[in-house]
């Protein structure tokens, strides 16, 4: 029986019995239990997405040198992004099959991307702690934002699509 079924069962029980105090207590427990389940699922999903991303980056590092014969940096970058997108899709498919909601997968990808980007932005000035580097930072940050946001959206959409497909092919409990 899935956690959702357990919670639904308790909610129904609270609705059926003629004991206001018990009903109130049971409903409160369900609400807390759902929040806890959602939090645990979210953390697990973020963790899984991170593992998938690390795997895709690892694969990209292995595969790209094999193809790197007379191709431009831009092509290599596109191949790398393609591999990451493929892994994100397959990861989403797996998570969807495991019963994780597609919107939670999408949210996890977005939150993780934002977290990494903010961490990068916070840490970068320290790494570049030499005089005059502020100008370099300002010059390079602005044009990077647009493709990055576009990439987040593509990544999120790909993960969402994978999870939706996985959810459809999920075996019933």
């Amino acid at each position: 029986m899935s956690p959702e079924e357990w919670n639904q069962g308790i909610r129904n029980e609270a609705q059926i019995v003629n004991d206001i105090e018990w009903s109130h207590d049971a409903q409160q427990y369900v609400r807390l239990s759902e929040k806890k389940d959602q939090l645990v699922t979210f953390v697990m999903t973020v963790f899984a997405i991170e593992i998938i991303e690390l795997l895709s980056v690892f694969n990209t590092q292995i595969l790209i040198p094999m193809w790197n014969v007379g191709v431009s940096d831009l092509t290599i970058s596109h191949i790398g992004q393609g591999i990451v997108a493929l892994f994100t899709f397959l990861g989403g498919l797996w998570l969807g099959k495991e019963g994780i909601r597609p919107r939670l997968v999408a949210l996890s990808i977005l939150v993780l991307s934002l977290f990494k980007e903010v961490t990068f932005l916070v840490l970068q000035p320290w790494e570049w702690g030499i005089p005059g580097i502020g100008i370099l930072w300002e010059g390079s940050a602005a044009p990077m934002w647009l493709p990055l946001i576009g990439w987040w959206l593509v990544s999120t959409l790909v993960g969402f699509l994978g999870a939706s497909l996985g959810e459809k092919t999920k075996k019933p409990n």
């Binding site: 357990w6 308790i10 129904n12």
Partner: protein, 86 residues
């Protein structure tokens, strides 16, 4: 919870009844039931209501594995005590 379920076996029991008999609140009882179910000691099923318009209920019964555990606990008071303490 195990003892109450074993006393009632093979009848199916509702969560509310179990809560009242054991004196456990839902926040304590249901995690126990979920854990017993995960360990395959307890069977849980949906039960359609006899009254129209009322939602289906969950009912619970000890599984064969759960009954075996009860027999083991009954046969060995030391294990029983350990189970209670844990």
């Amino acid at each position: 919870v195990l003892l109450t379920l074993s006393e009632r076996h093979p009848a199916w029991t509702h969560g509310y009844d179990l809560s009242k008999v054991t004196g456990l609140k839902s926040g304590t009882l249901y995690p126990i039931l979920r854990r017993l179910n995960e360990q395959e000691l307890l069977e849980a099923r949906w039960e359609e209501s006899e009254h129209v318009g009322r939602p289906p209920r969950h009912s619970y019964q000890l599984s064969n594995k759960g009954l075996q555990l009860i027999h083991v606990l009954n046969a060995s008071p030391a294990l029983s005590l350990k189970g209670i303490l844990i």
